[in-house]
Every structure is written in structure tokens, then in C-alpha cells.
């Protein structure tokens, strides 16, 4: 908050009202509804609801299918964050160092950011189709790749599909972060340290920490939520539910299975995960403000 502020009663309320009203109706109301769903059980015809305490949660966390999905989601988030983060950083460092063609590379590498996950998925579906797919036959020649039967092959499929587009976002943010580092700091380090490899890890990379941290959050939320469109257009959970992310499973259980209690409980668990990430992020941001 600023030290100097406006004193007024009506106008600030009018300014904040549009967003506040939308958030109350379309964010808080559904969240409250999610809690109601999670703690009640509905009869098959939807006529009555009974309060069932933590029954839905118990059913969810003791379900082996849920635990499989949990495991997959963790691996998926980890791999996507690591792969796209390191490729994005590698490309950004190179793009920042070249003398010629910097903006051409930037334009060529930036645009997959704009492609919808569902479109990436539909496209990946062709590359991995048994009959026509280039990548399918490539991997199949190597080790008999078949994602419809093998869990690890299905993992490879959705990981390639999920990572491709996200390299772009990492590249953009890392490049922005690199361009934001003061030239004088880099120049000073040139005198002290001859090896450009060591210089990068001891001087440049620590200065990129805020960007790195921000990107970790971006990548986690991408792999967690945005990949729903990819899963739904590629494996749909194949071989048998092993490649369902938690978000996709909650959606399928609510939509196809019409089990709102289970879907609600799953949503609450996801909200808790997201809340932990938010707190983590806030602590980091507030600390950064102190340094400034």
C-alpha cells in the first residue's frame, strides 16, 4: 500500500465492485458449492442430499485408481517442469548471447505459446497414431513402442505432448529475465572469472533465481491444470487410467460418472495443493520485496 493515498468512500467501492461481484458469484459461490458436494452424498436421482462427513474423502484417498493418478500427476509435473525449464533456459542463454539473428530466433520460438493444449493434443494424436504416426513408428522400431498397452510408453507420449508447447513460455520468461540483468554485473564478472560455464552458474544463474522461481510456479500450474486438454485428446487415460492427471480424473468422475461427491472431494484436495503453492509463492515474493 502507498503512504500517500486518496481518502474517499464511494469511488473506491465503485472501482473494486465489478471484480468483487464477479469473484463472489463465480469463484466463492462455486467453491462453497464444492464443499457442500464434498461433504454430502446424493441419491442416484438427485432428489436428496445427506451429510456424510469425510466419507467421500475416505473413498477417494483409499481408491487405488486415485493413488495411481496422484503418482502420475507428480511425475508429470516434475518431468514437464524440469524438461521445459532446462530447454527454455538453454535456448534463452544462447539467444541472449548471439550477435546476429536474436529477434528472428525470438519470433520463431515464441509462437507455440499461443497454441491451445487441446490443439497440441489433437496434433500429437496423429504423430502417435498406430497407423499413420511418424513418432509411433519411430519409437516402435526402436523398442516395440505401444502406448495403448504399456504404461511407460503412454507416459512418454503424454510427456512429449505436454512439454513441446511449454518450452516456449520458459524461453520467453528466461530471456526476459536475462535481458533484465544489469550489464555492469556481467562485465565485472568477466574480469574475475574466465570460464563462461562457471560464470553462468556462479553469477548469472543466481541473478535469475526470481525468474526461475516464477517459472516453476507457472510450469506446475500448467502441468497440473492446463494439460487437461492434452490428456483428453491423446490417451484419455490409457492404458487403463494410468495417464489421468488429478484434474482430468475429477472431471471424468463428475461428468461421466456423475459422482459429484467424489468429484467435489477431489477438487478440495486440489485446492489444498494449490493453496500450499500460493502460500509458498507469497512468502517468496514478500521476501524479494524486502531485498529491494
Amino acid at each position: 500500500m502507498k503512504k500517500v493515498q486518496f481518502n474517499s468512500n464511494l469511488s473506491p467501492f465503485l472501482f473494486i465492485a465489478p471484480q468483487l461481484v464477479i469473484i463472489l458469484i463465480f469463484l466463492y459461490w462455486p467453491i462453497i458449492q464444492t464443499f457442500t458436494d464434498a461433504f454430502t452424498s446424493q441419491d442416484p436421482f438427485g432428489f436428496s442430499k445427506t451429510f456424510v462427513w469425510f466419507d467421500n474423502f475416505e473413498l477417494v484417498i483409499t481408491d487405488p485408481a486415485y493413488l495411481r493418478s496422484f503418482k502420475f500427476t507428480l511425475i508429470y509435473i516434475f518431468v514437464i517442469t524440469l524438461v521445459t525449464g532446462s530447454l527454455g533456459l538453454l535456448l534463452a542463454v544462447q539467444a541472449n548471447s548471439v550477435i546476429h539473428g536474436k529477434s528472428a530466433y525470438k519470433t520463431l520460438l515464441i509462437w507455440p505459446y499461443a497454441i491451445a493444449p487441446a490443439v497440441v493434443g489433437v496434433t500429437a494424436n496423429y504423430f502417435f497414431s498406430e497407423r499413420l504416426g511418424l513418432l509411433y513408428s519411430f519409437f516402435n522400431d526402436l523398442w516395440g513402442f505401444n502406448w495403448m498397452n504399456s504404461v511407460s510408453d503412454a507416459y512418454i507420449y503424454v510427456m512429449i505432448a505436454g512439454s513441446w508447447k511449454q518450452i516456449s513460455a520458459n524461453f520467453i520468461f528466461f530471456l526476459a529475465g536475462l535481458q533484465n540483468i544489469e550489464k555492469s554485473l556481467i562485465e565485472a564478472s568477466l574480469i574475475d572469472c574466465k570460464s563462461s560455464f562457471r560464470r553462468f552458474w556462479t553469477v548469472t544463474f543466481p541473478l535469475l533465481m526470481p525468474t526461475t522461481f516464477f517459472l516453476i510456479i507457472i510450469n506446475i500450474t500448467y502441468a497440473f491444470f492446463d494439460t487437461l486438454g492434452i490428456i483428453d485428446t491423446t490417451t484419455i487415460g490409457a492404458p487403463s487410467g494410468e495417464t489421468k492427471t488429478l484434474v482430468y480424473k475429477a472431471y471424468i468422475d463428475g461428468f461421466r460418472g456423475l459422482d459429484l461427491g467424489s468429484s467435489g472431494a477431489q477438487s478440495i484436495i486440489m485446492m489444498i495443493i494449490v493453496l500450499v503453492i500460493t502460500i509458498f509463492q507469497f512468502r517468496f515474493i514478500e521476501r524479494k520485496v524486502h531485498y529491494n
Binding site: 486518496f6 472501482f15 463465480f26 464444492t34 499461443a114 504423430f127 518450452i167 486438454g229 485446492m271
Partner: protein, 275 residues
Amino acid sequence: MASKYSQITAHSILLLGTLLIMVPIWIVFASSTHDSITIATKGMQFGLGDNFLNNYRNVLFERGGFSKEVTFLRLISNSLVMAFGIATLTVITSLLAAYTIVYFKIKLATTYFWLIFTTLLVPLEVRIFPSYAIVSELNLTNTYAGLILPLLASSIATFFFRQFYKTIPEELLEAAKIDGVNSWKFFIDFLMPLSKTMIIAIFIFMFVYGYNQYLWPILVTSTEDYWTVIMGMKIMFMRTSIGSFSYIILSIIPPILVVIFLQRWFVRGLLYSGK
């Protein structure tokens, strides 16, 4: 600073990266210029075919969907309305909310702050069925409002604007107050011009986000009049001669153009805040 050797290495790595990004989309484009028999028998193609005009004409003008009435142009205009609506309204509501939080002395400021920011990362996917129930209770299914409003209920943009406002020197408001500028004029004449880069960055971000929505339009539209180009993809391929590759290429053009043409501001806007 840069030796010839390291420049060559850098260019090689960048070229490999560019290939990794460009080759898949080139194959999709090349395949979009072949007739469906070639694709069905020989698979995806590296080289260009001679069916370009025919394929793209089919996508643009053939009617599809369950009713056999809906056209690609209809879908893409719905997508553009949705993307544009989400981007514009998010920018307006978030700018105003962030302005209030940073620049006003109000009793409920802290409450507002927590109301907005505890849900910073709760995406629509997590509250999708209750949101659907509410939207249908408000009779907003199969409307643009139903497509747009629930996606405005996010405070990420507010958060970015707040971070940006906090970097603006206190002296600006002091000087404005001495000149007797009121709060609305201060917002329009002082803050808006300063926020231009941030506004464009958030606009691009939200435009792409809105255009690329998949799950929400599936739930909230039951009549084909409100289908969007991304969610309607699979259904449009069924029972028509519409080639999926040419459809894919056409459907990704609008957000790509927005990102490429505005990339200068996008990256600069991120520099202010993206840390």
C-alpha cells in the same frame, strides 16, 4: 566478449531448438495440402501437395456438426468474441481493483486483498461443475456471458497490476494531489499511460487464455451457435470432408498473430513483473 567458436555453438543450439519447434508444425502444414486418400494411405507428409485450395475451401465453407449447419467461420467468430471479451474485461476490472487496493485508504482494503488473493491460483477446472450449476441457474448457458464471466473470476491480472503500481514512485500521487487532481483523473491521465505496456502484456495473456479454452465451452454450450473453434474441433472432423490438418492450421492463426505482433510489449510487460 564473444568468440567465433561460442557464436557457432550458440547458433547450432538455437537452430536445433527452432527445428524442434518448427518441424511438427511444418509437417501438419505440409499434410494439410494433401488429399485425404494420400494421408489415409501414406500417413503425414513432409512435402507439399497440390490440394491446398480445395482443403482450405472445405474447412472455410463446408457445414458440419451434429446439425450439419455450423460453419468454421461461425466457430472462429465465437472464439474471437470470447477471447476479446475475456481479455478486455479482465484488463478493465483488474486495473480498477488493483488501483483501489494500492491507492485508497479504505477500511475493507485488507479484506478485499485477502478475498482476491487467497484464490489467486484456483482455476476454473477445480470448480467446474458448481460453476456450471450456477451459470445454468442464472440462465447463462448458451450465451456469450456464460462463456466469458466465469473466466473473469481470477485475480492473477490484479496481482500483476498491483505489483506494477507498487513500483510507481510516491511522488507522482503527491504531485497530482497538489495540483488538485481527483482520483478518476489520476487514474486515467497518470496511471493508464504508465501502465500501457502492462496492459498489453495482460491483454495478450488473457486473449490466448480465452481463445484456447476447451473444457468450459464444452460444458456451457449445448447449441452449436455458441461452439468455439477449439472445443468444436473433434466434432467438426466427424462426418465431413473437412481436413483436420487444414482446420488445425486455420484455428491457431489468430492467437499466434496476436502473440507475434505484440511480442515486443509482451516481453517488456513481463520484465516489469514476471519475477
